[in-house]
């Protein structure tokens, strides 16, 4: 690599993200006029895809506070910046919340009137309770994000160890809260699209998938930051090795969880459960299912097995880009057949809206990231490669 830039041009990246996002959203606008049904379906997928990153940041941040490790120190600023975007994430949910009947059949009184099962589920699946639960999830996530960022700033200012304990306490409780809220949110926002169907492992699939999206995003960002000071001097191949190993673990966990759900439903072969897979394996969605097996599991599994790939920032970033793309494919495969059944029906909005929502979110994330120093909070804990040895020469 040639000469290193003195500092990262975060403002330039932000402008680019905003521009791309703005253009994609503007391009999607005619879709809203022409086919509002499709617009909100595509918008929901785009929203779920990007909302997984702030929640994933929250989870990884709390995990890092609890278990430590240099991998977490070097990405902590990014994770914290991610948790400071919940206000925007809530705003981005508004179009969904304002159009519940378009997306969720349990929100249409005329459908519920003819559906015995939905009448039984109405105690849980009704608009008021749905909005209340969503408000609760955001309140919990924002409170956790607020406390974690506040104590982190205090830790940086005071340089004492007292704040570390507080961060750990918040994280210990927070990780339980995270598990419950994200499980319920995935049931509310996604599983209830098909209110006759249910799966108890659904929340875990979203947590694992979200963690994978987040790790991939963070690896891509870190590979950019590695090209300039101060991160260039701090980052070692071992950091990317660790993050690559975490990605590897989550790729396997995703496969494990996704297969578990399939095996149980396939073994049971019950009329109320099996349509989920009939829709997604038969017909043209089956092609996507095979693509997921190959490119969301087999290929990254082999690539991330190799140390050569994990230790090189720019190479690992390529794998992370593949993962981010496959995460979107997985989400489309999970969500879209709930609307359309067996036939594959990709709309151009399924491509422009993720880019649009993503551009806006990434721009806001970058502005949060540049609000604070890039230098890690606990940079002194990063062991220089054989620091004591270098002095001997």
């Amino acid at each position: 690599m040639g000469s290193l830039a003195a500092s990262m041009d975060l403002a330039g990246m932000r402008r680019k993200a905003l521009l791309v996002g703005g253009i994609a959203l503007a391009a999607s606008a005619p879709g809203l006029m022409a086919d509002p049904e499709q617009f909100f379906r595509s918008y929901l997928v785009a929203y779920l895809y990007w909302a997984a990153i702030p929640t994933g940041c929250l989870a990884l941040l709390m995990l890092h506070h609890l278990v430590g490790g240099e991998w977490g120190i070097v990405i902590r600023r990014m994770l914290e910046a991610g948790t400071r975007t919940f206000l925007l994430v809530l705003l981005l949910l508004a179009p969904v919340l304002l159009n519940l009947p378009r997306l969720y059949i349990w929100a249409r009184p005329d459908v519920v009137a003819h559906d015995k099962l939905l009448q039984h589920k109405a105690a849980y699946l009704n608009t008021g309770f749905f909005l209340g639960r969503t408000a609760f999830y955001f309140a919990a996530w924002m409170l956790l994000a607020f406390l974690l960022n506040k104590y982190s700033t205090a830790q940086e200012r005071d340089k004492t160890n007292g704040w570390k304990g507080k961060l750990q306490t918040v994280s210990g409780i927070g990780i339980l809260v995270y598990g419950l809220t994200v499980s319920f949110a995935s049931v509310d926002w996604v599983m209830s699209l098909d209110p006759h169907w249910f799966s108890t492992i659904y929340g875990v699939m979203f947590m694992v998938g979200g963690a994978l999206t987040t790790l991939s995003f963070v690896v891509i960002m870190l590979s950019r930051l590695a090209q300039a000071q101060p991160m260039a001097a701090l980052l070692k191949p071992s950091h990317f090795h660790d993050l690559g190993n975490l990605m590897f673990a989550f790729v396997m966990l995703w496969a494990y969880v996704a297969f578990s759900q399939f095996l149980i439903i396939w073994s049971g072969n019950l009329p109320e459960e099996i349509p989920f897979y009939l829709h997604r394996f038969h017909g043209s969605w089956g092609v996507i299912a095979v693509a997921l097996l190959l490119f969301h599991f087999a290929l990254p599994f082999i690539l991330l097995l190799l140390r050569v790939i994990k230790k090189k920032a720019q190479v690992l970033a390529r794998v992370a880009m593949l993962m981010m793309f496959m995460r979107l494919v997985d989400l489309i495969w999970m969500v879209t057949p709930s609307f359309h059944g067996e036939r594959i029906s990709l709309h151009w909005l399924d491509l422009t809206l993720p880019v649009g929502v993503g551009g806006i979110w990434v721009a806001y994330f970058l502005s949060q990231l540049s609000n604070r120093p890039i230098e890690p909070v606990e940079a002194h804990l990063i062991e220089a490669p054989h620091a004591a040895v270098e002095g001997g020469h």
């Binding site: 071992s238 095996l263 396939w266 073994s267 490669p385 054989h386 040895v389």
Partner: protein, 183 residues
């Protein structure tokens, strides 16, 4: 000439003792830079970067474990296939005999089992274990390698090994003590 005989007869190598891991890593690095290859380090705990400093490239173990895993995966799946389709076909819930989703969990388990066996027994075989005695145990104070001392042993089998020169070299690396390791 007498040096040569000493190196290949009586001596296993020369053992340098260090007080901390930094000196050990530094010594390993410099020995590697000086051209020594047949050497090994002993420490009470795993040390990050020591492998690289020794120029130690171990590819046989990961390869063995991978082969074990692949064998377990293919073997487990084939076993299930043979049992369910040829040896003992059974009608389970009206499903076809060849119902691959049901074969995956056993194949997954045998993958892990065989990979773990390859790891444990491969490690023992490549280390030459079990082995009741090793020359390095004859060095006075070597037992401290399990407590708070760090050791680097350059073996006489190394082509560059010469008792006096190698001893001088090791002493120049901040070694607390350099001992001969008798066979």
């Amino acid at each position: 000439m007498s040096d040569f005989h000493a190196a290949h007869g009586r001596l296993y190598g020369l053992m340098a003792e260090f007080d901390n891991r930094y000196d050990l890593i530094e010594a390993a690095k410099r020995s590697h830079a000086a051209g020594y290859r047949k050497m090994d380090a002993y420490s009470p705990m795993p040390i990050h970067g020591l492998e690289e400093a020794l120029g130690f490239h171990e590819w046989r173990m990961p390869m063995l474990v991978l082969l074990g895993g692949i064998f377990g995966c293919v073997g487990g799946f084939s076993l299930m296939y043979w049992m369910a389709v040829h040896a003992y076909p059974m009608n389970i819930g009206g499903r076809p005999n060849y119902s691959w989703p049901a074969f995956i969990p056993p194949a997954f388990e045998t993958t892990i089992l065989c990979a773990a066996f390859a790891a444990v027994f491969g490690m023992l075989a490549l280390n030459g274990l079990p082995r009741p005695h090793h020359p390095v145990f004859s060095v006075p104070g070597f037992a401290l390698a399990t407590r708070d001392k760090f050791f680097l042993c350059i073996e006489s089998a190394d082509p560059l090994f010469q008792v006096e020169a190698t001893r001088k070299f090791l002493e120049s690396l901040h070694a607390k003590e350099v001992n001969e390791v008798e066979r």
